[in-house]
């Protein structure tokens, strides 16, 4: 009886949201960067956080990983308050600028982060294959291109297979083939139960996501699926659909 109940409960997870934000308020340098924002990120989804540069995407992501001083509101991540110590091994965060050591080799970077998060060194080759850098082990990171450095940074966050990945513009400046490959990997991770919150300012990428969060000027305009957005606006192209949503919001 007990075993069956447990099986049922894994089929229907009790917690549906990996991230729940209620009334988040962030003031920076006297400006209200995010006045009041509430949202949910479904567990096991690839959720795209989309909006123009400077709309507050990075601030929101930093709030989720607990790196941002927030003024008010409640953020629950995997059932715990954002930034709590227990989450540090369960949330992977990749900043927009690659945060790896330029003066070390790819292997040395990953080896260091592997030790910090406590995974065996064998994971290094696996994660490098995921980002297509398996032949770069001995290369010094500062000699790599921007896109390659971004992938080293991404690989470092994948090492310990965290259940939540927060990725700030991970595909910027990548060649289209590699970008497509990465989105495939993101979905593969999501099928394995990982939740991915991915920001982008390129609307083309919206079509790759299961769920969308559309942001503008620190406000959340929509929290919906790509198809819902198409249905609501009557636009097939998601870029145009976003434009419609902005027009609706400003009442034109």
């Amino acid at each position: 009886m007990h075993a069956r109940w447990r099986r049922l409960s894994t089929l229907q997870p009790v917690r549906e949201s990996a991230v729940e934000i209620e009334d988040l308020n962030v003031v920076r340098g006297g400006n209200s960067v995010i006045p009041s924002l509430s949202l949910r990120v479904r567990s096991g989804s690839v959720t795209g956080l989309l909006g123009p540069s400077g709309c507050g995407k990075t601030t929101l992501m930093r709030s989720v990983v607990g790196a941002q001083i927030v003024t008010g509101g409640k953020i629950s991540v995997l059932g715990n308050p954002a930034g709590s110590a227990g989450l540090r091994s369960r949330v992977g965060y990749v900043t927009q600028a690659p945060s790896v050591y330029g003066d070390l080799t790819v292997a040395e970077n990953l080896s260091y982060f592997a030790k910090v998060v406590g995974v065996e060194q064998g994971r290094i080759t696996e994660t490098l294959q995921t980002v297509g850098l398996e032949d770069y082990l001995e290369r010094i990171v500062s000699s790599l291109s921007g896109g390659e450095r971004a992938r080293v940074s991404l690989a470092s966050a994948l090492l310990n297979r965290p259940p939540l990945l927060v990725l700030d513009e991970p595909t910027v400046g990548l060649d289209p083939l590699l970008r497509q490959g990465l989105w495939r990997d993101f979905h593969r991770l999501a099928r394995g139960g990982t939740t991915l919150l991915i920001s982008s300012h390129v609307m083309d990428e919206a079509a790759e996501c299961d769920d969308l969060l559309l942001m503008r000027e620190g406000r959340l305009l929509r929290n919906c699926t790509p198809n819902e957005l198409r249905g609501e606006t009557g636009e097939e192209d998601l870029g145009k659909a976003f434009l419609r949503v902005i027009e609706m919001a400003s009442g034109t």
Partner: protein, 245 residues
């Protein structure tokens, strides 16, 4: 705190320096070369060379580690790697101790070279043994490192970090008693010198390279140096923030 992460951090910092052979060469060669310069500057006054050169063997690591640490840490802050580490299961102490390990090792290497040249080749004397000078050199290097970690929080660019050298280290060097005994300074300066950690670092070395019985004064100096190191590390830890604006 975890030994695994501390050791990994120490190895990582050493790895960063290992990839920069020119820095290592400069680290090891420059103090020995400066000491040689002093030796021949004071060619006619060997006792002046002894009174300045011998303590300097233990003070070089302080100065160099201060500079290197403040820049390494500043880079860690500006490159985003510090922010990444602070979102990982790593305690601040792991990071600070890791730095301490790495720069302790570097300081030891530097002290070995400069002491070998100074006491071995240039005829400096160490009545209480070169080992004592070496041990003090490593303690001073750790003090320099701790101050560098702390001050890196107040620099936004590497240019600023480099300026901390003349701003914070030079006055301490001038007032520590190395160039002129402190009781000959204006009373205000003498009083100020008692508040500066470098004064105790110099005083310990001065005792270590002078003939005469070693007494409790040396112990007091050492305790002050260690205390200042701990205090700077504690203050440095406060500047490592997991949450930033």
């Amino acid at each position: 705190m975890s030994a695994r992460i501390t050791l990994a951090t120490g190895r990582r910092v050493l790895g960063q320096i290992r990839h920069d052979p020119r820095t290592i060469a400069l680290l090891l060669a420059v103090p020995a070369l400066l000491l040689t310069l002093l030796r021949y500057m004071f060619d006619g006054q060997p006792q002046v060379f002894q009174s300045i050169g011998a303590p300097l063997c233990g003070l070089f690591p302080f100065i160099v580690m201060f500079l290197i640490t403040s820049i390494t840490m500043l880079r860690e802050r500006t490159s985003g790697t510090l922010e990444r580490l602070m979102t990982l299961p790593m305690s601040k102490l792991d990071l600070l101790m890791g730095y301490g390990l790495a720069f302790g090792v570097l300081a030891a290497a530097q002290a070995i070279v400069v002491c070998a040249v100074g006491f071995g080749l240039l005829g400096l004397e160490s009545p209480h043994g070169v080992l004592l000078v070496g041990a003090l050199a490593i303690l001073n290097a750790l003090l320099g490192m701790a101050l560098g970690l702390l001050l890196s929080a107040f620099a936004r660019t590497e240019f600023q970090a480099v300026q901390f050298m003349p701003a914070f280290i030079f006055p301490q060097m001038l007032l520590c008693g190395l160039f002129i005994t402190r009781d000959e300074m204006a009373p205000v300066l003498e009083a100020v010198s008692w508040l500066l950690p470098f004064t105790y670092a110099y005083d310990a070395l001065d005792l270590a390279v002078s003939p005469g019985q070693l007494d409790a004064t040396l112990m007091i100096d050492v305790v002050v140096v260690i205390g200042a190191t701990m205090a700077s590390l504690a203050l440095g830890a406060v500047t490592l923030k997991r949450r930033t604006p």
